[in-house]
């Protein structure tokens, strides 16, 4: 079974925010990728991202998932212990040409982005009959 997607590792891409003169950490969100009934589903964990701050762009066959997080800093408190860091999310995938780009569906709920990538009907596996010589 052919792999539809290949991922590019973008570990901790640091981007310098020129205005605020601060380095913002960007993280790779954990994803689940599975396929069922001719549809590939990608679910990406992006907690802390508001539904309006999610960005999914498809250019040719490069799919980019982006999420902006507003850093949480309660008033009058100081950070005591930090087991996880907070930052924006970014992950890039290369889709195979079998994906029907016009019918890609995206939904964002409770910090999880769910993408459904249906397969184009024309690219169903064709059975080639073998003639006995």
């Amino acid at each position: 079974m052919a792999q539809d997607l290949t991922t590019q590792d973008t570990h901790d891409v640091t981007t310098t925010n020129g205005d605020a003169n601060r380095r913002a950490m960007a993280f790779t969100p954990a994803v689940d990728i599975f396929e069922r009934d001719e549809t590939t589903v990608i679910m990406a964990d992006m907690p802390g991202v508001a539904p309006g701050d999610v960005d999914v762009t498809l250019e040719r066959q490069i799919l980019t998932l982006r999420g902006k997080v507003k850093p949480y800093a309660p008033e009058g408190y100081r950070l005591l212990s930090s087991e996880y860091r907070v930052g924006d999310y970014i992950r890039v995938f290369t889709l195979s040409d079998e994906v029907d780009q016009a019918r890609i569906d995206a939904e964002f709920k409770n910090g999880v982005l769910r993408l459904e990538l249906p397969r184009s009907p024309e690219t169903q596996p064709k059975k080639i009959s073998v003639k006995a010589a």
Binding site: F34, Y77, L80, N110, G111
Partner: protein
């Protein structure tokens, strides 16, 4: 005159205890339905105020019904169940990085918290719990009389 630098909240010591107890607790309660070899429990962040503490925990994909938050004296426990990932014979998995199953995490707080004064908010997959110290538990300032 001898001067001692005395940290009133003494954060460093109970904090090291807290971490050690947390990891011990997590080992004990690794969840009944965890799939995979290692237990996956979500990481927490703590913010300290004068007499209150805020905990934030990332729980993407869960809803308020999936999370159970209990408090008793200094012990805060969070139990949660991740929604069932897709199952079936017709599924082909390519990548499985997200968490699954049930987790239980108990944390020892540096002071007792008032259960009636706890505010828990769940937004976009992040649970924020703000806890206040009960009035009678707060350290009292003692007046010094000069004779």
């Amino acid at each position: 005159m001898l001067q001692t630098i005395f940290s009133p909240l003494n954060i460093s010591d109970p904090f090291a205890d807290m971490r050690r107890q947390q990891s011990e607790m997590n080992r004990l309660f690794t969840g009944s339905r965890t799939l995979g070899p290692s237990a996956c429990y979500p990481p927490v962040n703590f913010w300290a105020g004068q007499d209150s503490i805020v905990m934030s925990i990332e729980l993407p994909g869960l809803t308020e019904q999936d999370i159970e938050l209990t408090v008793k004296d200094t012990m805060l426990s969070i139990r949660g169940t991740y929604p069932d990932s897709e199952k079936g014979d017709d599924i082909v998995w390519h990548r499985h990085e997200r968490s699954d199953g049930t987790f239980l995490r108990s944390v020892e707080l540096p002071f007792r918290v008032n259960p009636d004064q706890i505010e828990a908010r769940f937004e976009n997959g992040v649970l924020t719990v703000e806890m206040q110290r009960p009035e009678d538990d707060k350290p009292k300032r003692i007046a010094i009389k000069t004779t």
